[in-house]
């Protein structure tokens, strides 16, 4: 069964149709890259999946469960949306780490707040918090920031901040981890370390959706690539096919322009 199924997602901002009917599904462990020029709707699609935007039309299923239906207001209640977001993680283009917390605390914060809502938290407080801290440390270790746990965001380079952001998103164990142009705010020589961290996640079968302008990376890391233009999926397929023999004129001219 598909871990994620997106059906006919449409989104308009006023008179502008940003998404005009997006359908795709994702299997567990797949890495899906979304490419396309600016304004094609890639970022809006990710934001819809994370409930930062509300689609005007369409449904979203996770593990077969209907999470969102534009026609059904009972799937859009604020309190439920909060829980539903936890199926997804989102890594932003400009990190958005919490500046007043150390790297470690950034990774732990959301987990701690969720744990506080669980019954029995007060009784086992110390043990639960210790667990969360252990896991957060392991995650930071995993993205290569073993020695930066106690650093504040402003003391870290962009690449290090983005890796903290990845660890922070992973801490909530999302079903699908989304990246919104994770290296676009970074210098080219620094983006390598972030890509390396994503590569490692791919090798560990993390299900991911990556909006990116790094064509080489998309080709190498993805199991499938979607090319979006004007709010629709123009073309999709395995990376070799899509980059090797693009079918549509739009993709051909896009690849000519970026490669």
């Amino acid at each position: 069964m598909a871990i994620l199924e997106v059906k006919d997602i449409q989104k308009n901002f006023g008179a502008t149709d940003v998404l005009r009917g997006i359908d795709f599904s994702l299997e567990r462990g797949e890495v899906l890259s979304i490419i396309g020029s600016s304004g094609s709707g890639k970022t809006t699609l990710l934001r819809c999946l994370n409930f930062l935007e509300t689609p005007s039309v369409g449904q979203i299923y996770v593990n077969g469960e209907l999470l969102f239906d534009a026609k059904d207001p009972s799937t859009q209640r604020e309190a439920d949306i909060r829980k539903k977001r936890l199926h997804f993680g989102l890594v932003f283009q400009s990190f958005h780490l919490f500046p007043q917390y150390t790297a470690l605390k950034n990774v732990m914060l959301a987990r701690e707040l969720l744990a506080q809502e669980q019954a029995g938290f007060r009784k086992n407080k110390a043990a639960i918090l210790a667990d969360i801290q252990e896991e957060a440390k392991a995650l930071l270790d995993k993205v290569g920031l073993n020695d930066k746990m106690d650093a504040y965001p402003h003391q870290l380079s962009g690449g290090q901040q983005q890796r903290v952001a990845i660890a922070r998103a992973l801490a909530l164990k999302p079903d699908v981890l989304c990246f919104d142009e994770p290296t676009s705010a970074l210098d080219p020589e620094i983006s390598g370390e972030v890509l390396q961290a994503i590569r490692r996640l791919a090798s560990q079968n993390m299900t991911m959706i990556i909006v990116t302008h790094e064509m080489g990376f998309a080709r190498e890391v993805s199991s499938r690539v979607i090319f979006m233009a004007d709010g629709v999926i123009m073309e999709q397929g395995a990376p070799e096919a899509l980059f090797g023999s693009p079918q549509t004129e739009r993709l051909q001219s896009f690849l000519r322009a970026v490669l």
Partner: protein, 215 residues
């Protein structure tokens, strides 16, 4: 001997000055936050009401507001006059809440939208996002303008004398009227200097305390 008498009389006046300052601060700081939230409300009538309140309060002299609060109820409804000090404190709280609200609003609106969204995608509630993520960043941002406003408040307390509340300046002025002595008035400035000096040191400490992160 005169010097000690003057000092002790001025100190008494300064006690009242400090009381006006302290009570105003204590009430206007939280009230200002409430006004700020109203000014940012998505509910139009509330927002307009709040913005009109801020406009009226900031556009009229505090001295006039003190007079209105003291004499207004009696003139309008034949109410018995409230104690003078109460009128002063009420007018000051309303006035400073309006100014503080704009500082809060500026601080809150200056925090990047990405901070809210980062909290949202991590499953935080609105109040968790505000208290755990946004608030401290706002506090750090508003310490300098708040310090300014609070130091202004120290000196604004001298307006209380317009309805004969005997704060330090009024005490000093009585020496002019009664004994033709002007130096107590100049001397009263020293009290303000010392008090504001202490406040400046305090705000400096707060700024340093919050210096461990950058917004």
């Amino acid at each position: 001997m005169l010097f000690f008498t003057v000092t002790s009389r001025l100190l008494q006046g300064f006690g009242l000055t400090c009381a006006i300052f302290g009570i105003t601060l204590l009430c206007a700081l939280p009230l200002g936050l409430v006004v700020a939230f109203c000014s940012m409300s998505k509910f139009n009538p509330l927002r307009y009401l709040s913005k009109t309140f801020v406009w009226v309060i900031r556009s009229t002299p505090l001295m006039l507001q003190v007079i209105i609060v003291f004499y207004g109820p009696g003139l309008l409804w034949q109410a018995t006059a409230m104690p003078r000090i109460n009128a002063v404190v009420i007018a000051f709280i309303i006035n400073y809440a309006a100014y503080f609200s704009e500082i809060y609003r500026g601080g809150i609106e200056s925090i990047s939208h990405g901070q809210y969204e980062a909290g949202q995608v991590l499953g935080m509630t609105k109040s968790q996002i505000f208290f755990k993520v946004i608030l401290l960043q706002v506090v750090k941002r508003i310490v300098p303008p708040m310090s300014n406003e609070i130091i202004t408040l120290v000196k604004d307390t001298s307006l209380a004398r317009i309805i004969a509340v005997k704060e330090i300046i009024m005490v000093a002025q009585e020496y002019i009227a009664t004994y033709a002595l002007i130096w107590p008035l100049f001397y009263s400035g020293v009290f303000y200097l010392v008090f504001c000096g202490l406040l400046t040191l305090l705000f400096g400490r707060v700024e340093r305390k919050l210096g461990y992160f950058k917004v």
